[in-house]
Symmetry: C2
């Protein structure tokens, strides 16, 4: 038998006879020819079965092979300018390894609920391949970016002992004789890490039990969170924009075929270049008022406001210094205006909303303790976190980027549900 290769390798095998193993993706026939689209996960290739080239049995078998049947195909690799791959296979032999009957996902349109119920099979479609390859590229870019800058990966724990900011959006589990909560963010642990390793990041799944059925919400999503010692809000924004530029340009360079398949407007992504606009919350409020949105000063932005603000710019915009009361207790207040918080949100263009949230952390023991008390939280829970302000406290900052929202934006998808292999939402826990 000729060498068995993956479809991704055919470009190195022009003119050679090879064996491919994969699944029938699509098929059409015309008289003496069957055109079989075969996929093996690394690519899709057109396999041309010409009646004159094969035995009568192989020709007949090729005409009968059903969608998603597993096949082994032998043939000669030939240049084919019209195909995205650049090559096709001139078939000399074909075996059916496993015949699939009535594959549920046909070429016709299916409803989203049906596709989600068949997610384990839907993953075989070219569209899902494109989205999930972009996801993989984003994740590689994230790691390369931080590893290349000398950050240490410090995985934050998933099980946390306390419901730091209320239990309403937390999942919890019995943990032997007590309760544990599933993390919503690794940030507090990251701060301990930054004091130990200077520059750290964590990257793992996080959980929110929000009763939201919007296109932006998953109960389980992946988040990367860098945290840096000796870093203020400005330097934090510098890093955030460099980071987002890096990811977007990486995907443009490495996944252009996937973006093309998704019909993504590349111009929009090509504009994602530093510097990104930076406006204060106050300036954002002015902008909203000029656009006819009358959100009063002091309120946090919702989806409508985020869309209005980001529409004013051709690249991601960073909004900094929100009213402190909109933000979590650990944010440092602006020394120049103490009702403001030294925080930043990055809003993606085209209405994709917040993709990054971060800021400078409160590094003073007494002020942090006062804020914990003000918010009615129990200081005992935060003993270890307060310790970080007792022993060598320094200015430090960080942010979090949600992978699924970033992938949805980069791919130009309406809903985050396709950006993760097996999405989990309020109404969706299967397959």
């Amino acid at each position: 038998m000729p060498d068995r290769i993956w479809i991704e390798e055919v470009k190195k095998r022009e003119g050679e006879t090879v064996t491919l193993k994969g699944w029938l993706y699509n098929k059409r026939s015309s008289g003496k020819l069957h055109f079989l689209q075969v996929r093996d996960g690394t690519g899709l290739i057109q396999c041309v079965v010409f009646k004159g080239d094969v035995s009568p049995e192989v020709f007949e078998r090729s005409g009968k092979v059903t969608q998603e049947s597993a096949v082994e195909v032998c043939g000669v690799v030939r240049k084919d300018e019209r195909s995205p791959l650049g090559f096709e296979l001139g078939v000399t032999d074909l075996k059916v390894l496993h015949s699939a009957q009535d594959y549920p996902i046909g070429p016709k349109e299916h409803g989203v609920a049906f596709l989600m119920d068949h997610r384990h099979l839907w993953l075989r479609s070219s569209r899902q391949h494109a989205v999930l390859r972009v996801r993989h590229e984003v994740i590689r870019a994230v790691r390369d970016f931080f590893d290349g800058k000398g950050f240490t990966l410090l995985d934050a724990p998933i099980f946390t002992p306390n419901a730091c900011e209320g239990t309403t959006t937390l999942f919890s589990t019995e943990y032997f004789d007590r309760r544990a909560y599933l993390t919503q963010s690794g940030q507090l642990y990251n701060e301990a890490g930054a004091m130990a390793f200077g520059k750290v990041y964590c990257f793992g799944p996080t959980f929110r039990a929000e009763k939201s059925k919007t296109r932006r919400h998953l109960t389980e999503f992946w988040m990367v969170e860098p945290e840096m010692a000796f870093c203020d809000l400005e330097e934090n924004m510098d890093l955030a924009e460099e980071f987002v530029e890096f990811i977007v340009q990486r995907v443009l360079n490495h996944r252009s075929q996937e973006l093309a398949y998704l019909k993504r407007d590349l111009d929009v992504l090509q504009k994602v270049r530093r510097p990104f606009p930076r406006i204060s919350y106050d300036e954002a409020i002015d902008l909203l008022h000029r656009q006819g949105n009358d959100l009063p000063w002091g309120k946090d932005f919702g989806g409508d406001e985020e869309t209005l603000i980001s529409s004013a710019f051709d690249r991601p915009v960073m909004v900094h210094r929100y009213p402190a009361r909109c933000k979590a207790f650990y944010m440092k207040n602006d020394p120049e205006k103490s009702d403001l918080s030294l925080c930043v949100d990055m809003l993606a263009p085209e209405g994709y909303g917040e993709i990054i949230g971060g800021g400078e952390r409160e590094d003073d023991y007494d002020r942090l303790l006062a804020k914990i008390r003000e918010q009615g939280l129990s200081p005992e829970i935060f003993t270890w976190y307060l310790d970080l302000r007792k022993y060598g406290s320094v200015p430090h900052s960080g942010f979090g980027l949600g992978i699924e929202r970033a992938v949805a934006w980069i791919c130009g998808l309406k809903h985050v549900r396709e950006t993760i292999p097996f999405p989990r939402m309020m109404e969706r826990l299967t397959p």
Copy 2:
């Protein structure tokens, strides 16, 4: 002020005056000299304060600075052959940014419980830096290995709808109006991924609610799991040994300083070269009996047996074809001897036990359904998993490697608790 740099950058700055920001790790004085060990997370440098070089205030301040105080140090980078870094700093100025009082972890020995209670501070020690940098390197190696071979990263879900193999070792949570379980393995989902992408891996935290207080158990641990279509047990073992060799050699090449700090016997690691010995369960039983262990055929190995078996070899050993009754329902039975399973465990040397478990999966619909029923499981739960055997089923295999056990072995640690930033064990959920 001179350029502020990270300690990792001093080697490019010989002879220059620079500013470092960090924390005081250790200190000794002798007359006109203070030797301050300063760490900033990227390295540790000796800062020499000579009375003749600085103002009286700076000299006095340098003598009083306490452990883990945050400092800013200016000085000239000088070659120093005796230090692991190769350089020291000739101090010209020193500021104390934040003075730490009574840092709890002193140079004296502390008990493990005390250190674990202060894990957020213990992370600052050189030993923890060494272990967690090796962990980071292992994780990078894992991703580079699979990315380099064309695998697609396909994150498996953490929330799963069913307790597939009994609830005794599962954590569960209320999931809106139903129950969800925390994953113990991404394998079943990976199989759907392999049929879609050919070669996939997932890499994330997994959870076991085992009531075990051994040195090998965590309730939350990270696992990488590759899964390949068109792959049998032999090819699976080929990949597993190439993978483990790759990781170990990478750490040897990139983290030799950390391994030296941990006093790891490098000879043992250098021997981790392919091919690894492969023995059947039957041969392993013979080996045990010859060593005086009388485990009867058909029983799974415990820690004692694993240690005895692995001690017979100078590199990891792969034990394949266990009795089918020891293994999970999804394992394919050996067609040559149907009471055996086409599975493999890799045992690390020096008594570190199983670091890899895997095998070839049952790919026949009827046989899989029968096995599900035999084990008293409900076929309805596995409808989607059975679908994979209805539509283009092909031979496929995979394995899982637990990161913490691998790091413990590579670092030569007795207990897995130091191999993860914030370990979670039966009796440990804090900080």
